[in-house]
């Protein structure tokens, strides 16, 4: 897991604002990071922190307000519609809810075939059919299910369809938006293992968006923590779990209910709730809830800086490397 790989995705100062009656909602606010080929970046945060919007903005499923996205060296935001369509073969997404993301009137085969058909990837219908069977095999769907409809299937199988559909284009990069959140634990483990095996076999790069910290720790090489649109900490998974630097990350990690009864740790409980992402003040967004809040935190917004190699944090408690 050396960080010497080729950089596949680079996100620079990505912003997505929504204009709502009450003002400007800063869903994603100045997020920058790089992701190397074949690795998984886990993105964690609570509801409303902008993790889903960020995932979609990277694929331009929502148009970013500003910022740049380089995929394999190409500036994704400069592509025109047809170039973007072509580019999306390499950049796919798996959606959160396997109950609402599948067309109820299409069979499994039609659902998986659709992207191949739209991209005119395999013109020959027999070959296309073989490809569908092949994909079903990869994601562990029995061939007898080929003519079933989504409502006949349980959540785990539906999510397998979502995975197969994303794989249909032979992508190099997949944004996985809470792919296991709606599944029971025994099924969740099946899907996580499937996705790991696919990554190993095909060298796919993932952005894995989730609110479940045990899952993200298990699944990711690097972890990015978001709070109210901001990237507050990013580090290799081991480093982050061993020594979280941002008070929010610390509280988040300590809040996980651990399934064991010995060696339980003390909780850090954050005061209050998320503040509004509409017209945020230029100060640290955690300031009101933070138990280490200092004077400067209510005056200046801390920038994201590299504290140790590959360990970035946006907090006034920490000084940059070598200072």
């Amino acid at each position: 897991m050396n960080s010497l790989g080729k950089i596949l995705l680079e996100v620079k100062n990505l912003k997505k604002y929504f204009y709502v009656p009450a003002g400007t909602l800063h869903a994603v606010d100045d997020v920058s990071f790089t992701l190397e080929e074949g690795r998984t970046l886990g993105v964690v945060g609570e509801s409303g922190c902008g993790k889903t919007t960020m995932g979609r903005a990277i694929l331009r499923l929502v148009e970013p307000t500003s910022g740049e996205i380089f995929f394999d060296g190409r500036n994704v935001r400069k592509l025109n519609a047809s170039e973007m369509r072509y580019m999306r073969r390499e950049m796919q997404i798996i959606f959160q809810d396997p109950f609402s993301s599948l067309n109820p009137r299409k069979t499994i085969a039609e659902t998986i075939e659709e992207p191949i058909l739209l991209a005119k990837l395999i013109p020959d219908s027999n070959k296309r059919f073989m490809r569908v069977l092949d994909l079903m095999d990869i994601v562990g769907l029995a061939q007898r299910l080929i003519n079933t409809y989504p409502h006949e299937l349980d959540g785990g199988r539906r999510q397998r369809i979502g995975v197969a559909r994303a794989l249909a284009m032979n992508p190099r990069f997949i944004v996985c938006d809470e792919p296991v959140s709606s599944l029971d634990v025994s099924i969740q483990a099946q899907i996580l293992n499937l996705m790991k095996n696919i990554q190993r076999d095909m060298g796919i790069t993932y952005i894995f968006i989730t609110h479940d910290l045990s899952v993200v720790n298990h699944f990711s090489d690097d972890i990015a923590v978001m709070y109210l649109g901001r990237l507050v900490e990013k580090a290799p998974a081991e480093a982050l779990f061993e020594k979280p630097l941002h008070p929010y990350t610390e509280a988040l990690l300590s809040a996980i209910p651990v399934p064991r009864i010995h060696n339980r740790h003390e909780r850090i409980i954050l005061k209050g709730e998320l503040s509004s992402p509409i017209n945020p003040e230029p100060l640290c967004r955690l300031a009101a809830r933070c138990n280490k809040c200092m004077d400067i935190c209510t005056r200046e917004e801390p920038p994201l800086i590299e504290i140790r190699p590959n360990h970035f944090v946006a907090c006034h408690l920490h000084k940059p490397m070598g200072s």
Partner: protein
């Protein structure tokens, strides 16, 4: 007498649903006893029968679709299935209260939170509107919301605050028995931590009986004293926290723990339970878990396993322990 009063006892509960003339075996032969001041965690995956068990305690299963086939549930020594509608009304929300899973849909959007908390107090305590509202304010403060917000509407609150309101409603009449159906599932983890802390404090204060329904073994470790693991309508293993977390015996319990990512060992491989939860209309013969069980023996697909007590507190429904308890197979 007091000890008997604050207990909940479910005896041999069997509930079926009849859908399109087919029978769904939702709950089969469930026994749960919770003494005063203790919390019982009912754990299982979707469709295991957890919520049906909870609704039965309030005699709220949707008749005639649902049918109580057998069983008795004693609240304060009285069988809820033999209560008159008037007695049931007097019990619900008073002696027995329930916190529902989804705070977004369990509150009335066109009534203030104060009115919703006060409603139960007025009905059960027969106090004036003013007094009930005062008590509602106290309840709000107890769950950590400023009392001045009694006249706010649910949409003005965040998810965590709504769930606190739901908890305040449940606790408004000082219940002896609290049923919490996945009370934190819809919440973010930092808010969940706040709500769990609140629940633990309330437990200490009021000495009530609590039935906590969850699919999260982490939450069980945090708030429960005893645990029942439910699969396809049956409690397949039941014991104290130590019995289940240190000394589990049922292959399904093992599978649940192995499916969870280990927060301390991120390289550890997940070992999911193969296969899927069976269709409750068409349960496999014998032990319902046998098609997914790596330890299955011929008798598992033939005979229903009997209860096997491993200690005074710990029992398991599994053929592996027919002859021996000592032989640790799992």
């Amino acid at each position: 007498m007091d000890a008997l009063q604050k207990t909940l006892e479910i005896k041999n509960l069997t509930v079926e649903y009849v859908v399109d003339k087919e029978v769904v075996h939702a709950v089969t032969g469930v026994n749960i006893t919770i003494p005063a001041g203790k919390t019982f965690g009912l754990v299982g995956e979707t469709g295991a029968g957890k919520t049906t068990t909870a609704l039965s305690i309030l005699n709220l299963v949707p008749v005639p679709t649902a049918r109580i086939v057998s069983g008795e549930i004693f609240v304060e020594g009285q069988d809820v299935f033999k209560m008159s509608p008037r007695q049931l009304r007097a019990m619900r929300g008073n002696k027995v209260a329930m916190v529902f899973q989804d705070p977004m849909t369990s509150l009335n959007p066109i009534k203030t939170v104060g009115e919703q908390i006060a409603e139960g107090i007025k009905i059960h305590r027969g106090v004036s509107d003013k007094e009930a509202l005062q008590r509602a304010m106290n309840m709000l403060e107890m769950v950590g919301i400023p009392g001045g917000r009694v006249s706010a509407y649910p949409h003005q609150f965040s998810g965590g605050m709504k769930q606190r309101v739901v908890i305040a409603i449940a606790l408004a009449c000082d219940p002896d028995i609290l049923i919490a159906d996945e009370p934190t599932t819809a919440l973010d983890v930092t808010i969940q931590a706040q709500v769990l802390k609140l629940i633990n404090e309330l437990k200490k204060k009021s000495h009530m009986v609590m039935l906590m329904i969850t699919h999260d073994l982490g939450i069980v470790a945090e708030v429960c004293d005893t645990v029942g693991i439910m699969y396809a309508g049956r409690i397949v293993e039941c014991g104290t926290l130590a019995d289940i977390f240190d000394n589990l015996r049922h292959p399904y319990t093992r599978g649940l723990f192995d499916s969870l990512p280990d927060i301390e060992n991120r390289r550890a491989e997940l070992k999911p339970i193969p296969g899927l939860i069976p269709d409750p209309m068409n349960l496999p013969p014998g032990c319902a878990f046998h098609p997914r069980c790596t330890y299955a023996k011929p008798e598992c697909s033939r005979d229903l396993p009997q209860i096997r007590w491993l200690s005074d507190t710990h029992y398991v429904h599994c053929h592996l322990y027919n002859e021996t308890v000592e032989n640790m197979l799992i």
